[in-house]
């Protein structure tokens, strides 16, 4: 558990994944936490997803802190407590809020959360996850247009894993990129990145493996190791496509360990 002090230039960072259910929020954060931890930053993991049990982010990280059983109000109070702790102790964390009506949505409706967090010298990175469906943008529209929650550091993440077979990513995400909500967000400073598709993602997560373990052929819980080709798929995805994905993020948005982490990241993609 890292409580390391931040340099004055380096603000504590919290990543919050937003979007409707099944757009890949947990998959994104799972990948991100593994990536950041491999870089040497033991970011904290907060699971406030009260709906998703079998593939909750807590399933992937034994040290994840998760919201206690209860209702939306309980989740809201828990998230508030976590945020206050982060502001006080200055560390990095990722927050999986889940989809639908959540404690987080209640919190942003009740208090000017952005001002409170960013005013406390904490960088909040909002990750708006979307597939190619128009309805996937509901969160972005709702949060941005009502000025509820649109962090200065916002990334619209296009999840290529949700593109139906036979469609091109360019064609599938065309209507999303031309949507007024995305245009408006871009003008407000939001960036976009495409989360690459891993065909055997469920083969990895169902086995409770990290991506590095999967590509190295590690066997856990007496499950059959990944096939040779799936290992090769994970290898390519984890060592080339995922670094390229994070390379799109501005350096100051990444809770990476080490001062030259971003430079290493670029080298690895070559």
């Amino acid at each position: 558990m890292s409580n390391r002090k931040q340099t004055p230039e380096r603000l504590p960072i919290i990543w919050v994944a937003l979007g409707r259910q099944r757009v890949g929020k947990t998959a994104l954060l799972n990948s991100a936490v593994q990536f950041f931890r491999e870089s040497g930053n033991h970011v904290r993991v907060w699971n406030a997803d009260q709906q998703n049990k079998s593939h909750a982010i807590s399933q992937f990280f034994a040290d994840a802190e998760h919201v206690p059983e209860g209702g939306i109000e309980d989740a809201k109070v828990w998230i508030e407590g976590r945020l206050e702790d982060l502001i006080e102790h200055r560390y990095d964390a990722v927050l999986d809020v889940g989809g639908g009506a959540t404690g987080f949505t209640k919190l942003v409706q009740e208090v000017p959360l952005l001002e409170a967090i960013e005013g406390s010298s904490v960088r909040l990175v909002g990750l708006f996850c979307t597939g190619p469906e128009r309805a996937d943008l509901d969160y972005l529209e709702q949060y941005a247009e009502a000025e509820l929650f649109m962090p200065a550091a916002s990334m619209i993440v296009l999840n290529a894993g949700l593109v139906l077979s036979g469609r091109s990513a360019t064609g599938a995400f065309g209507p999303i990129l031309q949507h007024p909500a995305v245009k408006r967000a871009a003008k407000a400073g939001a960036r976009t990145a495409m989360l690459p598709h891993l065909a055997c993602m469920s083969q990895v997560t169902d086995r409770g493996l990290t991506f590095r373990e999967a590509m190295d052929g590690v066997q856990k819980h007496a499950a059959v190791p990944l096939s040779l080709f799936d290992r090769a798929r994970v290898n390519r995805w984890w060592t080339r496509e995922i670094p390229a994905f994070f390379d799109v993020f501005p350096r100051e948005w990444l809770p990476m360990g080490g001062s030259d982490a971003h430079a290493n990241l670029s080298v690895e993609t070559n």
Binding site: S168, G174, L177, Q178, K183, A193, H197, A222, A223
Partner: protein, 191 residues
């Protein structure tokens, strides 16, 4: 067989992964061709099958190790779902750019981002080089999805600030790289 298996997996990915189905159901969907091939070689022993899948942690909808009858019925449901999905996929017309062939696109057609091609040509985006009217032409080897996205810079609005234009060019480049890697077929016109 390899080709068939690849095609099957592509079709099966189109099945919506509903939580209403059990892990056993989705495992059977993922291994549909293998189970089908095995069943052709002789009767499946559901008792042995259940013992093995239970050992690997697969469960029925209630989270319990599947019983023989449950596994057999689940397999029947999987077969029905897969066959229906395949039939629907086969019934679909071949994909093409919306309902408009490139040859039918009006000569003065412009992607929505380009309200004024002349303006675009005289106002190059940052870092992206000059946008010439030639870039607006739909290429003969076009993507098989949307004509509107078949041109470079389709998402760029020249009235946007340079950094926003650059952002849309960057994401477009990412998407196109993914399409090349994924092997989206670039169909040539045969007419």
């Amino acid at each position: 067989m390899a080709r068939r298996s690849k095609d099957s997996k592509a079709i099966l990915r189109t099945l919506e992964r509903s939580d209403q189905r059990s892990p056993l159901f989705w495992w059977m969907v993922d291994h549909f061709d293998e189970i089908t091939a095995r069943s052709r070689r002789g009767r499946i022993s559901w008792a042995s099958f259940c013992a093995e899948v239970s050992r690997q942690g697969l469960t029925d909808r209630d989270g319990q190790p599947p019983a023989d009858a449950t596994a057999r019925k689940t397999w029947e449901r999987v077969r029905a779902a897969v066959q229906q999905t395949r039939a629907e996929e086969e019934a679909k017309p071949p994909p093409r750019p919306g309902s408009i062939y490139p040859s039918r696109i009006p000569k003065d057609w412009k992607p929505s981002g380009y309200r004024d091609a002349a303006q675009a040509a005289t106002k190059p985006p940052v870092g992206g080089g000059e946008i010439s009217p030639a870039r607006l032409a739909v290429r003969s080897g076009t993507d098989s999805t949307l004509a509107a996205t078949a041109v470079q810079g389709a998402f760029v609005d020249p009235e946007d600030p340079p950094e926003v234009q650059q952002m849309f060019l960057d994401i477009e480049a990412q998407l196109r790289r993914a399409d090349r890697y994924l092997g989206t077929p670039l169909k040539r016109r045969t007419e």
